[in-house]
Amino acid sequence: MTDEREYSPGEMMVVSAARLLEDGDRVLVGIGLPNLAANLAKRLHAPNLVLFYEAGVVDAAPARLPLSIGDPCLVTGAVSVCSMFDLFYLYLQRGLVDVGFLGAAQVDRYGNINSTVIGEYERPKVRLGGSGGACDIALSCRKTLILLPHAKRRFPEKVDFITSPGYLGGRSEREALGFRGGPEAVVTDLGLLKFDENGEMFLYALNPKATVEQILENTGWNLKVADDVKVLDPPTDEELRILREELDPNRVYLGRLD
């Protein structure tokens, strides 16, 4: 059996994200790590979490690990299912969603996200998936949590394309447009980053195995570091047990242990 002290970067990210959720939060989760994080939190400190899925499902009770955002296992036994329009209009735009999870190909100094294109829009080096619901989520949730691997090309000072606005050039710019919320934290395989009063990203805490230098090397600008930078607690036995035995026994999303 695996030593409980060993854990994958994916496991640490899931645990780190789960701990950011508060009991009673209404959370819009995507498939993969966010789904695991939300379900982990619900088993532990946040039993009253309400989970939404972008396909229009409220409070799902899936009998297996969902493999796509609209997996039929999310519907059977759910509390409610609604149309795409209703999800975006009645839930998101109405402001009923507290926390939205977002992935990113790139995230910049002010938490702006690119998931549209690397290079120029009209002549893309790499054409990515596009916004989907990401821009809508970024502009309507009370807060967003951004999950991505920490690498220099994914943390440029300015993203190639703003798919989902964070704080734009700073908190005041977002506020001027009349939008609430904004990115609350960025969860990576190296640490946990938050945003200061101006909306600029800073290193808030390190994952147990990471160093400040490693994070600075993997960030595309001169990243601010908190004076009292913390070290996150590693996953607990109970966190790992739930993830490995109940939520993702085949390690589809948790990744290899090595």
Partner: protein, 321 residues
């Protein structure tokens, strides 16, 4: 629910932990806690599932200065107006449906004693729709050309940037409280409606607080067996009140019929102020609640309202393991 759920901790598979704590309380408690003098109320339901039991409790508790919004004020607001609860009515059609005028409403309006704000039906539901979706307004192709636009300054217009044409808009309506009566709900307020759905869903999403009254409280498993029917998600709901016959004299599809005799009687009662006061004293102030109210009717009348059953063909959601 019979699925073996790996994503939900078996040890927390109770209503309380999956959907939050039970919100079940008495009608008295729900109205006293969540309806305040001066509130803007939306007692929802287009002909169907009109929350009369809640309205009677609001009258009994002497709530006042209320702004009463409803597409069709109907007998429910006529009674609240007659009882002196209302400062203003926001509406689109004021009548005793299928019978005639709405007399208490009409008398006060003709005497200049009740403020009104008037839209078309589409205008009213579009206002709720805007409120339900967090929009400041809703555009709609109506109103234009009618005198309503001249008399209601809240109806405005915008210029469509694609066609260059003006289009009418109405402002969002976000009531302080919506009261929604449903056929079945669980203890945390996940409510299911079938039959005419009116504007209940939009009213619930638009309002700051929701009081859900229900013909019956069912187990969460019943709700989860058919998630497509859950029009009101529980997290919107502040209070759940189990109130059989809560919509009488309107109806609840599959539970009871409209008591048309009462709609006809109301014409005579509401014409005559003394009779109306007597009716309020006997049927509203003179009873503790809905059970006592319903018990006052002859049983033959009550029984005649109950339809024979006709069930929906079930659908298969499938077990995905």
């Amino acid at each position: 629910m019979t699925t073996n759920s790996v994503m939900t901790n078996p040890s927390s598979e109770t209503e309380a932990s999956r959907c939050g704590p039970s919100k079940v309380m008495s009608m008295t408690e729900a109205i006293s806690k969540y309806v305040r003098d001066g509130d803007l109320l939306y007692l929802a339901g287009f002909t169907h599932l009109i929350p009369f039991a809640a309205a009677h409790e609001i009258i009994r508790q002497g709530k006042k200065d209320l702004v009463l919004a409803r597409a069709t004020p109907d007998l429910i607001y006529d009674q609240m107006i007659a009882a002196g609860c209302a400062r203003k009515v926001i509406f689109s059609w004021a009548g005793n449906p299928g019978v005639g005028p709405l007399r208490a409403f009409r008398k006060k309006v003709e005497a200049g004693e009740l403020e009104i704000e008037e839209y078309t039906h589409f205008g009213t539901v579009a206002r709720l729709m805007a409120g339900a979706g967090g929009l400041p307004f809703f555009p709609l192709k109506t109103n234009t050309g009618s005198d309503l636009v001249k008399k209601n300054p809240s109806i405005k217009s915008v210029v469509c940037p694609y066609t260059g044409r003006e289009i009418s808009v109405v402002p969002a309506l976000n009531p302080d409280v919506a009261v929604i009566h449903v056929q079945r709900a669980d203890a945390t307020g996940n409510g299911q409606i079938w039959g005419i759905v009116g504007e209940q869903r939009e009213a619930a999403f638009a309002s700051k607080r929701v009081i859900l009254t229900t013909e019956e409280i069912v187990s969460e498993d019943v709700i989860r067996s058919d998630p497509a029917r859950t029009l009101i998600p529980g997290f919107l709901v502040s209070a759940v009140v189990e109130e059989p016959w809560g919509a009488h004299p309107s109806y609840a599809q599959g539970y009871y019929d409209r008591d048309n005799q009462f709609y006809l009687e109301w014409e005579a009662i509401s014409k005559d102020e003394a009779r109306l006061d007597e009716w309020l004293r006997e049927w509203v102030f003179g009873v503790k609640g809905r059970r006592e109210y319903m018990s006052k009717f002859e049983s033959s009348r009550v029984l005649s309202l109950i339809p024979k059953s006709q069930y929906s063909a079930p659908v298969d959601y499938g077990i995905y393991l």
